[in-house]
Structures are given as C-alpha cells and as structure tokens.
Homo-oligomer: 216 residues x 2
C-alpha cells in the first residue's frame, strides 16, 4: 500500500471539502493507460487529466509534476509482488525472479521505470520517493526470503548484523539488476529457463562465499 505519501503529511486538516479518493484512483489509472499508449516521453499531464475526467489544475494540486505522478502510478503495480512459499530456497528465488519479471514486462513499467530512475539522478526528493514506494518493498522480499530459508535450515543464522545487511544489499542488487538488465537492456525474456540458470549461479555463489568467509 503506497497510500499517497505526498498529501496530508500526517493528521491532516479535518475541515473543508475532502479530496476525492475516486479522483486519485482515476488519475493513477489514466496515467498508466497513457504510459501504455504514449510512453513516458509523449505523456502530458493535460492528456492524463482529460482521460481521468478531472481538471489539469487538480493534478498540479496533488503532485509536483510528471515524475512524482508516474512514480505513484507504477508503484501500485509493484505492490502486487509477494513471496509465495514454494518449499525451498531455490524455488522461492526462482518464483520471485519470475514474478518480478512479469511486472517488468508490462509496457507501462518498461517505459516508466527507467525514466524516473534517470530523473532521480538529479532530484534527491524523487530518489527518496522511489526508494520508499518501489525499491524498499522489493528489498523487503529479500529479507523475508532469507528469514524463511533460515527457518528451514537452508541458511545459517547470521552472527554479524552488519555483514548480513551488506550481503542482503548485494543479493538485492544482483537479483533486481540482472532481471532489469536482461529485460530492458538486453531485451531478452526472463523465462523459466533463464530464471533457473540465474538462481543456480546466485545460490551456489552465496553458499561458496559463506563457506570461504567461515574459513577466514
């Protein structure tokens, strides 16, 4: 649940006409539709307002601009991501990879995700917004998966919390990075076969690295 981190910062005003939640939903939906039809670069806020059936000024009252609006629109798609229990660590990783790839396969995600990341390189608030509403909830899945594997006895419990955090970051960048790169840069599909190969390399590598670290 992303839930409008942009408005009513907390314990917001109680008087006056409340903002229409229906308008919020219509705008975000219209934004995704416009992304599919026009792509990021040709998307205009005037067009989104027209599709959503609201005035252009309403958009500017709620979002600072195109960047913030699109982040919220695609963040909802990433909310679907969950981590179904498939019984073993390799199966879980493979499932997560395929699920992530499914979201990245949507045309609105493809065109929008890289664009807002590019914008974020020169916009610190936008970067925070992306992290809070998209990236961090993905990283959460990594932590969840590790905890599950430790409960199953497939992974040893971590002793050094700092090292554990670094490893989690490494895993996250490797998984998300590889899937994104294959999908958007190489332009090749993330099919079950690729997911299987990738998962195998990743898990064998992590197991070997943990073993080597234990010998230090």
């Amino acid at each position: 649940m992303v839930a409008n981190m942009q408005n009513r910062t907390s314990a917001g005003h109680r008087t006056g006409r409340p903002r229409s939640a229906a308008a919020d939903a219509a705008i975000l939906e219209a934004t995704r539709a416009a992304l599919i039809e026009l792509g990021w670069s040709k998307l205009t806020l005037g067009d989104v307002a027209l599709r959503a059936g609201v005035a252009k000024t309403t958009l500017y009252r709620r979002w600072a601009g195109k960047n913030e609006l699109v982040v919220d629109a695609v963040a909802e798609l990433f909310d679907e991501l969950e981590l179904p229990d498939r019984g073993s660590l390799p199966a879980d990783v493979e499932g997560a990879v395929l699920q992530f790839a499914t979201v990245l396969d949507r045309p609105e995600t493809r065109t929008a995700l890289m664009a807002v990341v590019a914008e974020a390189t020169r916009d610190e608030p936008l970067r925070r917004r992306i992290r809070a509403s998209i990236v961090d909830c993905q990283k959460q899945l990594v932590l969840e998966g590790r905890a599950r594997a430790q409960a199953r006895g497939e992974l040893p419990a971590e002793e050094d919390p700092e090292a554990a955090a670094r490893t989690a970051d490494l895993i996250f960048d490797m998984v998300a990075g590889a899937v994104v790169h294959r999908t958007l840069v190489s332009g090749e599909p993330v099919d079950p076969r690729w997911a299987r190969s990738f998962t195998r390399v990743l898990l064998l590598g992590l197991a070997g690295a943990a073993e080597a670290a234990a010998q230090d």
Copy 2:
C-alpha cells in the same frame, strides 16, 4: 570507435562540401557538458547548438533527435573501457567491474544512460543503436575475459557453443545489471570491497554451476 553510424550509410556521396568533423566533435562534447549541467530532461538541442558554436539546423541535419544525439555522446565514454590483464580471472572481473563503475559514476552517464534506455523501449531503431554502440562492446569484454581465462586454464573450454553463448549472456546481465543497479537505483558506491564480494559470489556460482552441469 563509434564513428558516426548515423551518416553516409555506406560509400556515401563524394562530391560537394564534406561535413565538418570538428563540428561533430564539438557537438558531442557540448552535449556531454549540457548533460552535466542540465541533466537529460532539461537538455535542449538549441542549447547544445549554442554551446557547440553551430546552428541548430546543423544538429537536425545529422541526428534525428535528442535520443540519437545523446546515445552517440555517451557511447564515446564507453569506448574507454578495456580489459587490462591482471593475471587471474577474479582480478580481471574485479577490474572490469570497477572500470565500468567509474564510467557510470560520471554525471553525464548517470542521467543519460537510463533515459535513453527508457526511450528505447518504444523505439526499435534507437534500441539497435544503443546495442551497437554501447551494449555490444561491453559484451565483447565478457567474451574476451572468458577466452583469456580459458587460455590460462582457469576455465574449461566450452563444447556446446549454444550453451556457451547463453552463459555469456547470463554473465553479462549479472555483471552489468548489478553494477548499474547498485549505482543508479540503490545509489550506493561500487567500491573495491563491493566489487570483491560481488566477484566472489559470481565466480563461485559459475564454477559450481559448471560442475553441476557436468554431472548431468
């Protein structure tokens, strides 16, 4: 050497006034300067022309638009990438990772790379251009590194060429994806320590996967 794949499609015209190579260089340099100062979204072709000291119409005579121009401008930065022989496969991978990260650390690369990739999701010719002038020459380094490792005896020779190609693609997406993701999405630096951890996981994973495959 990117060398203007956009002009004079082959055996181009020989009569008339030739295009100024100095103008080409000035334009690409001005484009990078504008990327640094303004970023992708605020970069305008009129401004680039002003900086380069050429007429705006000259830009449109050589490039179809902003996308193509920026691709050529950043492609020159990736031309620097080489694969110095560091004596062992892990050292080579680590060096390549750090070198790649250095290019991604430049402000003009950070803001431009993701942006053109985003544009390319709805523009097939642009995708081909990016592949030809940026991606493929990176992938070449992977093949070069593997050949070198095989010559050293660190890797077995491949028997199945198709499987070898798939593995090379997997490695490429894992390396480039992880570095890009850490730099541009997570926003954390790719320092020697991270490069070391990453390389260890990758190579141990590949070794383990090759071993497992041999047993099939």
